[in-house]
Amino acid sequence: MIGSFDQTINSAASSMAKRTLDAVDQDALLASHKEEKEFLVLYNKKGVLQNAAVVGAVISVALALFSIISAPMAVITFGGFLWARHSISKNIEDMVDKRVEPINSPANTLRGKIEVLVSNIESVLPSAWKPQHSKIFGVPLFRSEIPWDVILPKPNKEV
């Protein structure tokens, strides 16, 4: 295993050194001490390989540190935003209920309640409109907007 890895290192460094040596004026530079100079080029190229491995190790350490810090932070943030989402959702439901209940509406779904509120301004919800969308495991993720032209019907004007 180690022997084969050594061969891989030698082969990679040799091919890198060969490319460098090919670019050098052979007659002028390698006339004397040819083998020794090739040896020094090989040393440099192996140094480049080793430095690349060190860079890989440094990146891995940075990634590991990032993971260690970001995992608990992500869990805390997830909890926080889930809680915020729940609070906003409850606030919206309460707001809608507060507006609809005094009217003694029989509506018991969110769409029914919104329909009542929209009918109060003499407007009509589109039949295909759903109060929530993008379901995952049957749970809708996002809340739909009431179309702006339903709230503020004016030609060529949208909020």
Binding site: V24, I92, V159
Partner: protein, 181 residues
């Protein structure tokens, strides 16, 4: 405890109401800047229409919180996956670095000099700089005065291996052309 939770819930509700109201005012004002336009569009149902605009702004807030929660899940998943990957990567990189370092050390042992001789033992016992200097001198190359075999020390340990300057191995004239030997 229950009272504290109730107070916190009330405070958050007030914050949500306040944020949604501000957003609604901005949205309405951006689209209908003058009172005349506002009156024309909101007509006699000002309160009811404003409440529906606030509903939309609160929906926007809720969707923002949902998006942030989804991003947090993605970040958590990435972190959970990336940690073992980083550990494996670190181990692998260190192993590779060690192997290359060993390979270079082995390469620097002058094989042209027979093992067991005094000269061989003397050369092998030198530090890295001396070994490289010896090899360089055999190639007719003199290392620069301040050249060090490693740099970027962390805890006294050099992280990176220095190159032997290319200009030293292949000297060039002042015109940048290779100097023939």
């Amino acid at each position: 405890m229950t009272s504290f939770i109730q107070q916190a819930t009330r405070f958050i509700d007030q914050k949500i109401d306040s944020m949604a109201s501000t957003m609604a005012i901005h949205a309405i004002h951006a689209e209908f800047p003058t009172p005349v336009e506002k009156q024309a569009i909101f007509g006699s149902y000002k309160d009811q229409r404003t409440n529906l605009v606030i509903y939309n702004e609160k929906a926007l807030l809720q969707n923002g919180a949902t998006t942030a929660a989804i991003i947090s899940v993605a970040l958590a998943l990435f972190s959970v996956i990336s940690f073992p990957l980083a550990a494996v990567g670190l181990g692998g990189s260190l192993a590779v670095r060690y192997s290359i370092s060993q390979n270079i050390d082995e390469m620097l042992k002058l094989k042209s000099i027979p093992a067991g001789t005094e000269e061989k033992e003397e050369i092998d016992s030198r530090d890295l700089k001396s070994k490289v200097a010896t090899l360089a001198s055999r190639a007719g190359v003199v290392l620069p005065e301040g050249w060090k075999p490693g740099y970027a020390k962390v805890l006294g340990f050099p992280l990176f291996r220095s190159e032997i300057p290319w200009d030293t191995i292949f000297p060039r004239s002042s015109h940048g052309r290779p100097v023939s030997e």
